[in-house]
Amino acid sequence: MSDLAIRCRGLVKRYPPDVTAVDGLDLEVRRGECFGLLGPNGAGKTTTVEILEGLLAPTGGEVEILGARWDRDAADLRARIGITLQETHLPERLTVEEIVRLFRSFYPRGRGEDEVIGLVSLGEKRRARYDRLSGGQKQRLAVACALVGEPELLFLDEPTTGLDPQSRRQLWDVVDDLRRQGRTVLLTTHYMDEAERLCDRVAIVDRGRVIALGTPRELIHRVVGQEVVEFEAPDGVLEAELRALPGVEAVRRAGAGWALTVDRLHLAIPALLARLEARGVALSALSTHRATLEDVFVSLTGRRLRD
């Protein structure tokens, strides 16, 4: 048995005439890992995930899921994976309990309805009809339906978009639990804190390709450094000067000011202030934060993740 839960090579998906949604994407997700796909709108995350789920035929490339392939072992694979689509409507007029029971009936083995309903904290809404649930409750129900077959591999496409902070944290706990049980999770998200908190490894996808891959810390360290210093000041600062400051690794324009990525804050800040003072430039804003995946994305692509 392969120790990879997901393996794909050279994945391509074209929509004629001129859209290339996925453009030669390689991915390896290990068993027991929580893997995150990050990227801006239209990067090709959903397309990739749906190909991996066997719901979309790729234009080219190879896919292996849990050591099996969709063209040969679809029936078997379906029972071993669980999914949430980025966007679905479940049957409007059925209750939470009825919907979970319906999905449970499709799987040869799995968890009880009450258990999964409890996992996503919808116990109180068990008898409520789907069309009377709030957006976040609907989303949690979708996750419950993904869990009900006790999947070895779970695909979650933006599972927490639109959830309140408490529900998000609850869902994180669910994912943590699954990981503890040795199951594999592939999720897409726009929330960098979520990816850093949940994922063992992440891939940053842009224009249908993986542009960076690694653990969140690795990526941050490798691509941006430890800290980001942003400041605004009237013109009169030269980029070359900033680059020469001790501890500064990279410099780029950020809005009206500058963003410096820095590995030793205690050296960089005093040097920056001294430099500005020597030039007679007054600071109008200064902030620092620990570098995040957002910074990784911005420095790789020059764009922000969510515009």
């Binding site: 379906r78 409507h89 009936s105 499709f106 009450d114 009809r129 077959g149």
Partner: protein
């Protein structure tokens, strides 16, 4: 997690864990929790039966309306005509008499004289009727003896009235539209909302998903047919001369044929507007030519082979034959074969092209 489940009443395990049972239950629940679909399926056909049954109920025959042109002898002619209670006669001056004939207030104008003159339009059935009645009365008044006096046996039998013709047609129409909308529309709605995609991502058997639709149709048939036919029998004394078994068998075949067509129109459509258009395109011609509201025999002979080949024609003819003429299954095999053929062909084609994701 608090699990209070054991305290609650639970469906038997067999039902809970059977995908087919759950799929059928899901469809039934969705249907009965939507008041408007319940109305269109069960209430509407009954309302239509009531409305049309009342509009076309048996009425005493219309009197013959005659005008007598004013002038010498007019009053004698009028009196001779008025002797029959089935004739209404009035004396009118020339201009008014012409107007009455033109507008249909009078079907005939009698110009008194020896012999009298009848002005009427022979292309109008009521004018021909009026001429015969008026002539008969005036001849007798002038002294013509009857060669013999025939005995009248009056017959107005259930089975020959419009409502008797109508009810099997409405039943056929209902089977058609329930199959087309209930399957075609619902499938595409599920596809458009990506519910179908979500279901296909589970190990659910696709055949069970489809079978659930057909089973649900049959369950509804079990309600629709007795409700509509029973209502028509009670309220309008519509006859049921054949067996319920024959009626049920034909209704089931019809439901299968139209389920297949519903599946076929839904097989590729991505959104409900498209499938709505397709459904109307398929159903509209059959509404008109397949003998729902009036007999398909009214269309020219050149069209008859096409009309005979339509599933709704076969279904309506068969239902009428069972209810009005008491036909048994043995006599209905051509219709049965046609419906079964449509069902088989449309299911096969639909599955060949069905867009699952």
């Amino acid at each position: 997690m608090t699990d209070r489940a054991p305290a609650r009443r639970r469906a038997p395990r067999l039902l809970r864990r059977s995908a087919l049972a759950q799929l059928v239950l899901a469809r039934l629940r969705a249907f009965f929790r939507e008041p408007s679909t319940v109305f269109w399926s069960f209430g509407f056909p009954i309302l239509l039966t009531i409305a049309l049954g009342i509009a076309f109920r048996a009425r005493p025959p219309e009197p013959v309306r005659a005008a007598v042109l004013a002038g010498p002898g007019a009053e004698r002619v009028r009196a001779a005509l008025a002797a029959d209670r089935g004739v209404v006669a009035e004396i009118l001056p020339e201009a008014a008499a012409r107007a009455a004939l033109r507008t249909g207030r009078a079907a005939i104008v009698v110009v008194p004289g020896d012999p009298p003159t009848y002005r009427s339009d022979p292309t109008r059935p009521e004018s021909r009727l009026a001429r015969a009645a008026v002539d008969d009365l005036l001849q007798r008044a002038a002294g013509r003896p009857d060669a013999f006096s025939a005995a009248d046996a009056r017959v107005t039998e259930p089975g020959a009235r419009y409502v008797d013709f109508l009810v099997p047609g409405l039943l056929g129409m209902n089977v058609m539209s329930a199959g087309m909308w209930g399957i075609g529309w619902v499938i595409v709605e599920d596809r458009q909302k990506k519910l179908l995609k979500r279901m296909v991502a589970t190990p659910m058997r696709r055949s069970e998903w489809l079978l659930a639709f057909v089973l649900v149709r049959l369950v509804f048939l079990l309600i629709e047919v007795p409700v509509l036919v029973g209502f028509a029998m009670l309220a309008f004394e519509v006859p049921m001369r054949g067996s319920w078994l024959a009626l049920a068998a034909m209704a089931v075949l019809g439901a299968l044929a139209f389920s297949g067509l519903g599946l076929l129109v839904a097989s590729r459509a991505r959104n409900t507007q498209t499938v709505g258009g397709l459904i109307n395109l398929v159903m509209m011609p059959m509404f008109i030519v397949s003998g729902v509201f009036f007999s398909s025999a009214n269309f020219p002979p050149a069209l008859q082979p096409i009309i005979r080949a339509l599933p709704l024609t076969a279904l309506n003819d068969a239902l009428r034959a069972v209810m009005n003429e008491g036909a048994g299954l043995a006599a209905l095999w051509p219709e049965a074969a046609l419906l079964a053929g449509v069902a088989a062909a449309s299911f096969a084609l639909a599955l060949r092209f069905f867009r699952w994701v």
